[in-house]
């Protein structure tokens, strides 16, 4: 193989690798969130049409995820009547661990299991847990990476209040 051919192959390889990397890039603010109905998730999805969606990625083995649950339950209770849906997406691959966790902690908002980890791989969550706030147009409005107690709670409430104020204004 000549030097020129080798260089061509290397360049083509690098370009294609860059394309692969770009395709696998994490979801950012302003991006369209994947259609949940089009992904094989275990569990019943709540009605999402025209709702502001809060999607929380969690796992039974993740400590901070458990800490975030009371705050998410409060958001579900307070904002539920204003058109906000909180949805927990577990990335647990073992069904018994997921079921045991739900039984033990009595989670008070809808939860589904991404047992094939397709959605989470598509979204490329930066940490566990990560909460995505999705507007009525299906676009990501905020990404809350990790759970940092009151700071995360405040950021989530502020984002939801902003979205709801936009939607209620004439």
């Amino acid at each position: 193989m000549s030097r020129r051919n080798f260089q061509s192959i290397l360049c083509a390889g690098l370009v294609l690798a860059a394309i692969v990397r770009a395709v696998a890039a994490p979801l950012g603010v302003g991006d369209k969130f994947p259609e949940l109905s089009g992904i094989a998730l275990e569990g019943k999805l709540p009605a999402l049409e025209g709702r502001v969606l809060v999607v929380d990625f969690w796992a039974s083995w993740c400590g901070p995820c458990k800490e975030a649950f009371p705050a998410l339950a409060r958001v579900h209770a307070w904002y539920g009547q204003r058109g906000v849906v909180v949805l927990g997406v577990s990335v647990d691959q073992k069904e018994n661990e997921y079921a045991d966790f739900l039984k033990k902690f009595a989670v008070r908002f809808p939860t589904v299991r991404d047992h094939e980890q397709k959605l989470v791989a598509l979204v490329q969550v930066p940490a566990m847990p990560t909460t995505y706030v999705i507007g009525r147009d299906g676009r990501v409005r905020a990404i809350l990476s990790g759970y940092h107690g009151a700071a995360t709670d405040k950021e989530l409430r502020t984002t939801l209040n902003t979205i709801l104020a936009e939607n209620s204004s004439p």
Partner: protein, 79 residues
């Protein structure tokens, strides 16, 4: 010319294989959602209390110059 024509499919194949190999390098890290196995008890370095105590003692008495790993002392190795 004939040689050049027959060489192109090989080049194309090499490019695809090369891209695949280079693409594989983009996901070398364990992703946050793939860490279930890493959180199990068997992955902990301090899962055996006796081994941990022995290791602590060895480090304290043989390695530490001024009292290692939070233990007071001069590190003389006399205990």
């Amino acid at each position: 010319m004939i040689r050049h024509r027959s060489f192109r499919p090989v080049l194309f194949l090499c490019a695809i294989v090369g891209a695949g190999l280079l693409g594989g390098c983009t996901t070398t890290m364990v992703q946050p959602w793939e860490r279930a196995a890493l959180t199990t008890y068997s992955m902990r370095t301090d899962r055996d209390p006796l081994a941990s105590t022995m290791a602590e003692h060895t480090w304290f008495s043989r390695e530490a110059a001024t009292g290692g790993r939070g233990v007071g002392g001069s590190g003389c190795g006399c205990n």
